[in-house]
Amino acid sequence: MFMNENQAVSQDQPTEPVRQLPVITPAVDILENEREILLHADLPGVLKDDINIHIDNGKMTLSGRRRLQMTGATAWREFADAEFRRIFAVPQNIDVGQVHADLKEGVLRLHLPKSESAKPRRIEITAG
């Protein structure tokens, strides 16, 4: 469901932001087990609705916009509104329809399940 929504959005021409935000490459962790590839991406300050994940033709684009609520006079500033964006190659054996994600403490956890045919299988040998 999550993916379908994003795919629907990305079919339209992407609208250019009014103000070009600096693009930051988020730090990621990539883990794998028999069932899935698990990707953790650091997106501090990005809200769930501002994250877009798009998989097409073996390429996954992860992007998220951060809009900070800033008030008062700036004493110092080390980070600002930004667009986090990173593109990954997705292996053939990923079941794109089953990809799902959750966001917690500014970390996106993206689960990319492997398709049935790619999971390790034990082959029974039948006595002839």
Binding site: D29, E78, F79
Partner: protein, 147 residues
Amino acid sequence: MTRWQDMHSILGAMDLFRNQMNSLFYQFDRTYSLGHGWETSETYPRTNLSDTGDNLELIAELSGVNREDLKVKLQGNYLEISGSRKADIPEGYTVHRIEQPAAAFSRSFTLPYEVNAAKVTATLKEGLLTMTLPKSEAAKPRQISIQ
């Protein structure tokens, strides 16, 4: 006593200068990974500080840090944020890549004003620590009525 205060204001100015320099380099630092670009343990977590008149507001980037692993210490105008980011590798997974490793961190600041430590609020949400630090009475802006 006066000499101590002088020292403090010099250190405060140096802090400000360092922060300005950090923000100057910000644009060039496109990746967050340690060991790349300009980010060092000296500048983690990154912070923004603003002054809203009665309060100072500080925001720190702390994604993946749990509330219970974070410590904030405050004394007069000295603020210290420390803690640790724990490894988040579920059991049975092979690691291909870790760009933000588990690590302990600590950063301290000299705030431009003394704050009322009893009234400080801090919330950790979406990987951002937001602190509202009310200035101590003496540091607040005051309307002077003219006789």
